[in-house]
């Protein structure tokens, strides 16, 4: 069909066509991506930006873990090594640190948008709850990552942060011991924070993001122009289906 289109003669495209013929990828992508979204939705990219930032954090984090050494003797030295000796080490570390802050900011903006537009209302309760867990995991990344440079700021931030857990009535001391791996901040604290930061949280967050997105995909996005009504309205009889909005147009 494409007469002498240079683009269709390029090898990436030919390879794509070759794969597509065998696995119907076009169709699969179409089902995933070509989803109708509400016309007036101008803030729906916030969750996507958060996901993008998570990708950046995963790539830069994996790169950092190549030179970072999670022991009290070597941690700070390995950070200096990354900053001063490794080519582009300053760049990778700075992107990771900036990305961490931005990811938290965009996660919160995403939450605010869902809240302000009332998109958390039934039938999307579980998507909201998964989102709250995602925010907590993201904050967990920040908390555990902050200790890793093992400098004064890291040490005292973790001291204060874990003391907050210690202030919980009854279970406080147990929570503090659990966080620190003992009553004090030691090598044990560093290694459990490191393990949490690079294994537990990334796997947990990736799984939860997948669940979050499957739920969004199955229901479609809420239409902010459709009146969803207050919780009181939902109790009134009438076309509840249309109040929920969004999902009925596809």
């Amino acid at each position: 069909m494409q007469q002498k289109d240079v683009f269709y003669r390029t090898w990436p495209l030919r390879f794509w066509n070759w794969l597509d013929k065998r696995y119907a990828l076009q169709e699969f992508l179409h089902a995933l991506v070509d989803v109708p979204i509400p016309r007036s939705a101008n803030t729906l990219y916030l969750g996507g930006i958060t996901l993008f930032l998570f990708g950046i954090q995963a790539i830069t984090g994996i790169l950092l873990s190549i030179y970072y050494q999670p022991t009290p003797e070597n941690a700070y030295g390995s950070i200096l090594f990354i900053m001063n000796d490794v080519r582009f080490g300053w760049l990778i570390r700075s992107i990771h640190a900036w990305g961490a802050n931005l990811m938290i900011i965009f996660c919160i903006l995403h939450l605010l948008r869902v809240f302000v537009q009332g998109a958390y209302k039934p039938p999307r309760e579980l998507t909201w709850m998964a989102g709250v867990l995602l925010l907590m995991l993201t904050l967990g990344f920040g908390f555990t990552g902050y200790l890793l440079p093992w400098d004064q700021r890291a040490f005292w931030a973790t001291t204060v942060g874990s003391e907050i857990a210690g202030a919980i009535p009854l279970v406080g001391q147990a929570a503090l011991n659990f966080l620190r791996g003992g009553p004090e901040i030691t090598a044990l604290t560093l290694s459990r924070f490191f393990g949490t930061h690079v294994l537990v949280l990334p796997v947990g967050l990736a799984l939860l993001v997948a669940i979050h997105l499957v739920m969004v995909h199955q229901q479609g996005l809420a239409d902010p122009t459709e009146p969803t009504g207050s919780p009181d309205d939902l109790l009134q009889e009438g076309a509840e289906g249309s109040r929920v909005g969004g999902s009925d147009d596809h």
Binding site: V6, F7, T10, I66, R87, F88, L91, Q152
Partner: protein
């Protein structure tokens, strides 16, 4: 290519329509973006040359006239503060100037002839780096230093 280009009718020039042209521009920008991302990553993964520090990297820090007996100076050597001391009986020593307590940079206490940490009054012996008094838990690590013809070299292996 204008329609009237005679070479085109001879089929010697490939026809590039507007869409094709825009698409190759797009291709170039995609490829340059990928290169821009891959370059730092490959550079990062490549083992860094450590030769820049240590290994014969001794530094000329001055002469014996710059640091006369009874004086000392704090200098950056291989990115780290080092205090070079010339004691009153002409012994030249060098120590890491990073206090072993909480990492402040130490200075020279001229009147009483010892190394002083200004943060919590940690005091170190100028000949050995040993703790005289104060909170520091361990001596200042010493740094290699040699004097050749009145020139002082510090650092290196």
């Amino acid at each position: 290519m204008r329609e009237s280009d005679p070479r085109e009718s001879e089929g010697r020039l490939p026809t590039v329509d507007r869409r094709g042209f825009v698409r190759s521009l797009l291709g170039f920008s995609i490829i340059s973006t990928i290169m821009g991302v891959l370059t730092p990553i490959i550079g990062y993964l490549w083992p860094p040359a450590r030769s820049a520090r240590g290994g014969g990297g001794r530094v000329l820090v001055g002469t014996l006239t710059d640091i006369p007996p009874g004086q000392a100076e704090v200098l950056p050597i291989n990115d780290k503060p080092v205090i070079v001391v010339n004691t009153q009986d002409n012994q030249v020593r060098a120590f890491s100037a990073i206090c072993t307590h909480l990492g402040c940079v130490c200075e020279w206490e001229d009147r009483r002839q010892f190394i002083l940490c200004p943060c919590h009054d940690g005091r170190f012996n100028a000949l050995t780096g040993a703790v005289i008094s104060g909170p520091p838990p361990s001596p200042l690590p010493s740094v290699e230093v040699v004097v050749e013809d009145g020139d002082i070299y510090a650092g290196g292996a």
